[in-house]
Symmetry: C2
Subunit: 180 residues, 2 copies
């Protein structure tokens, strides 16, 4: 059974002041991000709290009681008609491999599609330790479109994936999505 099908779990799309610290802790504990990246992740939540939707950053949190289990941050790419970016997707370390990331990303795709988005971009590193990340995106229909050599650091390329959201929705049935 996938984690996001558990009856006590719900999705939340508003951002709370407490989320800044939650995001900081979760991204730091994941072991995937450098301190500067952790700071950026938290900053996007602060930006959203300060500016609201005008920040351009949208969030989805997977939550159970007071616990945030994972989250995604995404938004439209300014200056484009139908292109959106997935900025962050992180799941609590002990909950990996249970389908929570897929559930989050499917809901992001639904939101993007509903908002007239047609292409969702994600970027990740070429380093071996991001192989599970790259497989995760590819398994969900994301195709590698470009590689920018040495982008993050010498030997650490940026891989850009895109998914065209051009077909009718086939993810979780709508009634399983609980937004408060």
């Amino acid at each position: 059974m996938s984690a996001h099908a558990q009856p006590s779990m719900f999705w939340r799309e508003d951002v709370l002041p407490s989320d800044v610290a939650v995001i900081q802790d979760m991204t730091a504990a994941s072991g995937f991000f450098r301190p500067a990246e952790v700071a950026v992740a938290a900053e996007l939540a602060s930006e959203r709290l300060a500016k609201g939707a005008a920040s351009g950053y949208l969030f989805i949190f997977a939550q159970e009681g007071p616990q945030v289990l994972g989250y995604a941050c995404y938004g439209p790419i300014a200056g484009t008609l139908h292109s959106w970016d997935l900025y962050w997707i992180v799941v609590q370390k002990h909950l990996r491999g249970q389908g929570l990331g897929s559930g989050l990303l499917e809901l992001v795709e639904q939101r993007v599609w509903s908002a007239d988005g047609e292409r969702l971009y994600v970027e990740t590193s070429s380093l071996p330790r991001y192989r599970p990340t790259r497989r995760f995106y590819q398994s969900l229909g994301y195709a590698p479109q470009a590689v920018l050599a040495d982008f993050y650091a010498p030997g650490d390329d940026k891989v850009i994936y895109v998914k065209r959201l051009s077909r009718p929705w086939t993810g979780q049935p709508a009634q399983k999505v609980h937004c408060r």
Copy 2:
């Protein structure tokens, strides 16, 4: 004689409140940018005024008396070690083709290099009307690295260029750069 060699012209790197409107007018008058893009250009200056260097946006203005002749906006890419982005470079329409854009970009490259940057990225559109823009970058040593199909709009791809700033500086002599 290139525009940036004129004795009365100077470079300015601080950002003034009046620059927000100047940038808005200049980018709108250029004929190259959609209204949403013009808004983003002005927003980066506002962001810089509000947050200072912490905004991550650095500016260089080419100025003569009270007139801004052109400007560039650039900054380090968060989460990378040595990668920088050129966000905007715009020259007043009637001053195009006089070397002002090259002068601005060379100064940006010097600043990036001095700040430990090694790669400068620029992005532009694949549309025919951006051919002069693409030739401008290629003439200054920028190599196309990736194409993201339909990124900006259907039929309007994003072309990503990069220049490796790995060699000693050969641009304008330092004494010709006047910063107040």
